[in-house]
Symmetry: C2
Subunit: 136 residues, 2 copies
């Protein structure tokens, strides 16, 4: 019947990746949003529940959630749970700008390392706009 199957978003850890657990959680939430698996208003597993599922300490989950809340990707309500927040697609946000700068700096460095210029990056980006078919 009409049950909406509120799919419990699936977290998976790779303990051999060397990537901190809390960061893996962050990445998976962000990835879920980017891919559409998570939408505004969706509730995430509770701190305790996820901690049990992944066999880690609740504080580790809390840290990931808190960090995402600081960037306003999540909203937490005491006693209720943690939810995907309505992104502030617009508006200032010092931290957001900082993050964008970080992203760009990283990509420039990576591209420069294999001999590409900033212009090459821009060109590639433009190409993406015209040819959005290739989603990953």
């Amino acid at each position: 019947m009409g049950s909406r199957q509120r799919v419990p978003f699936r977290f998976r850890l790779d303990l051999h990746s060397g990537v901190p657990v809390y960061r893996q959680i962050i990445d998976q939430v962000r990835g879920g949003i980017a891919s559409g698996s998570l939408s505004v208003g969706d509730q995430l597993p509770t701190v305790r529940q996820l901690a049990v599922d992944l066999s880690i300490n609740p504080n580790t989950v809390a840290r990931a959630y808190r960090e995402l809340e600081l960037v306003e990707v999540l909203e937490t309500h005491q006693g209720t749970g943690t939810f995907i927040s309505a992104q502030k697609i617009r508006g200032g946000g010092e931290e957001r700008s900082r993050q964008l700068a970080q992203i760009v700096t990283d990509s420039v460095a990576r591209a420069g390392a294999i001999g590409f210029t900033v212009e090459d990056l821009v060109e590639q980006l433009r190409g993406l706009v015209l040819e959005p078919s290739r989603r990953r």
Copy 2:
């Protein structure tokens, strides 16, 4: 003779950025290549010289250089110095393009996760060309 005034590439540290010193060096070398300030064959300051200039330990410089050498961005010659290596600019254009696409895809995903558009990325990139290095 015919001295070409090999301009000594200028390194600058931001000790309050929280970004590790060795990483700042790496980023600046890569950025220098991307921006054209550094070209294939250029010699970098010697480990000792740069250590003195920046008031840091030679090993910190060496670490940065070594890491860049592993990725084949630099070439080191004992007793001679450290140089910008001939990039794999030519050859395997396929693989290089793939890497560029990957870099762009990553940055778009990261930016998209916090509500930025491709245009925002382009704008930020343009700004970088005019005003280098400011991290964190």
